[in-house]
Symmetry: C2
Subunit: 220 residues, 2 copies
Amino acid sequence: MFDKIIICAGAPHPALNYLDLPSDRICLIGVDGGAWQLVEAGYRLNFAVGDFDSVNQDQLAQIESASQEVLKYPAAKDDTDMEIGLELALSQDERCPIEVYGAIGHGVGRLDHLIGNLWLVYQERFRSLIPRLIFIEFDQMIRFFIPGNHSLENINDCHYLSIISMTPTKSLRIAGAKYNLEPTDFTLPRALVSNEFMDHHPISLSFREGLIMVIWEKGK
Amino acid sequence: MFDKIIICAGAPHPALNYLDLPSDRICLIGVDGGAWQLVEAGYRLNFAVGDFDSVNQDQLAQIESASQEVLKYPAAKDDTDMEIGLELALSQDERCPIEVYGAIGHGVGRLDHLIGNLWLVYQERFRSLIPRLIFIEFDQMIRFFIPGNHSLENINDCHYLSIISMTPTKSLRIAGAKYNLEPTDFTLPRALVSNEFMDHHPISLSFREGLIMVIWEKGK
């Protein structure tokens, strides 16, 4: 039984200072270079997974000695390291949140990796993870929402909130924000960016059909 | 008659050294902070557009004196500055390429702006621009493809090539790459990342239905 699953992927400078203190009820998964980031920061891992082509032999040896289990895959494989990490999260068969660090790049990782990681939520096999998944970086946080009514809090003093549909959407409504939206249908994906919180009150988001990505952003 | 339309948006550090030398057959559009980047680099603009909330009064005066036409919009408006820039490109009624700098952030801009700019290709009004649109940064280049047969050259010594569908896709085929794909249908958007050029030969991409984004990436 875990309270939380934490995955750290290999993008540079993961926001590890946002990590809660480790406890035996947290499942810590290091994905490829992310495993090394965690080990270097002094954490012991439940799992290290990946092809480890981004770490050297000495780093791999340290990862192996700091991990309960190491799953090593060939570099040329169908799944990305991150997909293997999420499969592992799925296999834990928990309902707890899944926090992912170092996956959307904090602005300095590879753009194709960023897009590839966002696109994971389109995959049928990961559907059950969508409401539990949180991407966390220093300046941004991303969550995904399925149809219903949702309350979006201001977190980490993020100034901006962008509501971005990944699919066609029905009756998308935004209330309590700087820019509100009466229930509107969109037949194609639509990015409604740079909305703002009002006096730190939560923003209401509701829709009847579709898949929404929400980006909290500190602004630069 | 223009040979090329160049748009510079406001993300930090646009790859201006990739810009061809100015000529009277290039239409140069500066979008908000991007107008200042161009003026500061010594260019004269055909158009400067935006709410200019990211530049100060002195910078705005310099933009005004270096631009043939300045279109100033209120900060709270329905269209983003970039959408206004693309509308302007559309109104030129040309068939030439549209190069966009400073729109996908070179890794240091806002993530929601990056996503918002990629999502522009979903908008019906910009459909005719899709095959002409090129996003250029120091480490990346992005183009969009409609159904047909396409040859993807290695440009700027980019090591990686990622083929990412923005919609469901029919008969997607990749040939001449490190990782090839026999014609495959995808019922949901799919990111095929980290493919590689072989000996600098072009990669063949073909598909029957859908919208594909291709990212050329130097790798980090």
